[in-house]
């Protein structure tokens, strides 16, 4: 099994005919994801990916015609919040928003609508998720994965790849790898993904990748200490050398007022039973030291 996505995923890609949307849709399809529909307003009735995927004008129509239950959004920043609302209104319960550069205030009503609808949003500004062997939604390169039982959750994109590659190189496969995104207003925090991993019988270990800014890692650590005490847990926090008051690329990655430092996150994670790596390459060794034997 896995979390968020898997064999029962029926994916609709919003913005499938755009440059990025088409490129990554092809990769998802090649990975074996059940990509059943695309949406581009005005292109309803056409097909995408060499005739393999029907394109609809609206998500509602895509859901009605194809039974799509998961959405992946590549719509540009100006239209992406609306695209999330459209997916919610069409009854989609699992939504990945890859789009970056969305103004933070635009997302506030959107995450509230997602919450009210009982749906789940990953992102925006996230790389998506992969459940190795069954489905890949988003932009994480499929080649870095290996099927297994380690759950990976991360705020970053390429740093996630780095960590996953290290695991795979060491022979540690993953149940699901989730990039939750680095924006200040995101649909799912680390803790939300931890809750899913905790309930997943096939996830037997946990890798948490965080970075400076906010207190999401600390909250996740506290939850894991209570609810995942017996699960081998390792973590890596980026930004130990980041200066205060500077926004390190991610809108969320900023240390302000002495809050959100790497040091505070590392100590919170260690107190919660995580082994914290100094480099992503250390993660496999630490996971074995934590008692993980797969």
């Amino acid at each position: 099994m896995s979390i968020l996505i898997g064999r029962s995923t029926r994916l609709v890609v919003q913005g499938i005919t755009g440059r990025e949307g088409e490129f990554h849709s092809r990769a998802m399809l090649e990975y074996g994801t059940q990509l059943v529909a695309g949406v581009t307003p005005g292109k309803g009735g056409q097909t995408a990916l060499d005739g393999k995927v029907p394109v609809f004008n609206t998500v509602r129509e895509a859901v009605y015609q194809t039974g799509a239950n998961t959405s992946c959004i590549f719509v540009p920043a100006g239209g992406a919040p609306d695209a999330v609302l459209e997916a919610v209104a069409a009854g989609i319960k699992t939504i990945f928003c890859i789009t970056e550069g969305i103004p933070a205030l635009d997302m506030i009503p959107v995450v509230e609508e997602v919450r009210l609808a009982g749906a789940r949003l990953i992102g925006p500004n996230c790389p998506g998720a992969t459940s190795p062997g069954t489905a890949k939604v988003g932009i994480i390169p499929g080649s870095i994965h290996r099927q297994g039982s380690v759950g990976v959750v991360s705020r970053s994109g390429t740093l996630t790849y780095e960590a996953v590659q290290a695991m795979t190189d060491a022979g540690l496969g993953q149940s699901t790898c989730v990039g939750i995104g680095g924006d200040p207003v995101i649909g799912s925090q680390h803790i939300d993904i931890l809750k899913l991993f905790a309930a997943d019988p096939d996830t037997e270990a946990l890798v948490l990748i965080g970075e400076i800014g906010g207190t999401a890692e600390e909250e996740a650590a506290a939850w894991a200490a209570e609810h995942m005490a017996n699960v081998p847990k390792v973590a890596f926090i980026a930004g130990r050398t980041a200066p205060e008051g500077k926004r390190m690329g991610h809108a969320g990655a900023i240390i302000s007022g002495g809050k959100g430092t790497a040091a505070s996150k590392v100590s919170a994670l260690e107190a919660a039973g995580f082994r914290v790596a100094n480099s992503p390459t250390e993660l496999p060794r630490l996971l074995r030291e934590a008692g993980f034997r797969r």
């Binding site: 990554h24 969305i102 870095i144 970053s156 740093l159 207003v185 390190m248 690329g249 992503p280």
Partner: protein
């Protein structure tokens, strides 16, 4: 993006908020002219003016950047002194001149993006005039919080609740109206933070000579959401070029995220988290990063070349570490950019390149043909770069 107090106040005034009058002066004589006006204003209860340095760093008061003056001559002298200051490395190019307020009571009120709740949050306190972080330590019970509704904003009742909780006394209506105005300012400008400190009850003199009290925004700090700048074309004018490195401008042009640091190892990475990690590993290997540089997703050769120019513009840079994990970004594109950049570069700086992920094999071939120093792992790349920098320094 941070903006100056005077610009922040203009944004507040545009939303109908009460802000005492001010003028911005670039020269002592402009400051004198403004002072003459405010010293003669019968509403000015103190009979003095305040002159405040406009710089985008905190602690300007302690640095001598905020001073009073009682006469036009004094105002001119004070302005000249402040305009000659450099505060935390930034030159003072402008001062704000306004009537010196007779403060009856100082409050604190701000609205900011609260990531944990995914809502906008008001922070208020009857202990104004000091940094809220300090109040949070010395008297946390004096701070009140109120979240805006994600769909309704701040309804009147919530603004009243906030005003009563802070304790504006007779000024509760004004306090509630200002809270609503701060939210409007936030939304109208796509700000991350709108902070009024102090929000103060000041005493002014009516035309008939009797005193009158009102609640006003005495200072203002606003930071804008960089992701939303494109839909506020007017905001680009508010950018303080003095507070920016010229490289920042260049970086923006190529859609690069570049932050100059103090070290000597230039870093070029795709992805913010990986860029921070690269810095961390350089540090761990005994080196100091010269910058944070995220070339973003899907970077093409020209963007890579621009990134390389930015790094080399820093004379401190003694070695360069390129770390690319190709997802969207194609490794061979980056390799081509690097080869092109090195062909053009004036200064010969050792470079260590690690490219993995999408099209890594093609990249490796290109780099090998061009005799680049490469590394398989990030740890190895960091170690090699640090060694190269030390070698260059020796």
């Amino acid at each position: 993006m941070k903006i100056h107090e005077a610009d922040a106040k203009s944004l507040l005034v545009a939303q109908g908020l009460p802000v005492p009058p001010w003028e911005v002066a670039r020269t002592p004589s402009q400051a004198r002219a403004a002072a003459v006006k405010y010293l003669a204003d019968p509403a000015n209860a103190t009979g003095k003016v305040v002159i405040k340095a406009q710089v985008l760093v905190g602690g300007r008061g302690k640095a001598g950047g905020v001073r009073l003056a009682s006469t036009a001559d004094e105002a001119e002298d004070v302005a000249a002194a402040i305009l000659a200051l450099e505060i935390k490395g930034l030159p003072v190019r402008r001062v704000l001149v306004g009537p010196a307020a007779e403060i009856v009571k100082e409050y604190y009120l701000s609205v900011l993006l609260d990531r944990a709740t995914k809502r906008l949050m008001f922070i208020g306190s009857a202990e104004g005039g000091v940094e809220i972080e300090q109040t949070a330590v010395t008297n946390p019970g004096a701070i009140v919080y109120e979240h805006a509704d994600p769909l309704l904003g701040l309804p009147d009742y919530a603004a009243r609740e906030l005003a009563f909780k802070i304790g504006f006394g007779a000024h509760w209506k004004a306090g509630a109206a200002i809270a609503k105005g701060l939210l409007r300012t936030m939304v109208a400008n796509d700000a991350d933070l709108v902070e009024i400190n102090p929000l103060a009850v000041i005493r002014e003199t009516r035309a008939d000579g009797t005193p009158v009290e009102r609640l006003v925004c005495l200072d203002a700090k606003i930071t804008l959401d960089d992701s939303a700048l494109l839909r506020h074309p007017g905001h680009e004018e508010l950018r303080d070029m003095d507070a920016e490195d010229p490289t920042d401008v260049e970086a923006r042009r190529y859609d690069l995220t570049f932050i100059k640091l103090e070290g000597d190892i230039g870093c070029m990475v795709n992805g913010a988290g990986l860029a921070m990690t690269t810095m961390d590993l350089v540090n761990r290997a005994g080196g100091q990063p010269a910058n944070f540089l995220d070339i973003g997703g899907g970077a093409k050769a020209d963007r890579v070349a621009a990134a390389m120019r930015l790094i080399l513009d820093d004379p401190n840079v003694k070695a360069i570490l390129v770390n690319i994990f190709g997802g969207i970004t194609r490794g061979d594109e980056v390799a081509k950019g690097l080869i092109e950049a090195r062909a053009q570069q004036v200064r010969d700086v050792p470079m260590v390149v690690r490219i993995v992920g999408t099209n890594a094999a093609e990249a490796a071939e290109l780099l090998e043909a061009a005799h680049f120093v490469t590394a398989a792992s990030l740890d190895e790349a960091a170690a090699k770069a640090v060694a190269a920098a030390k070698g260059a320094a020796a």
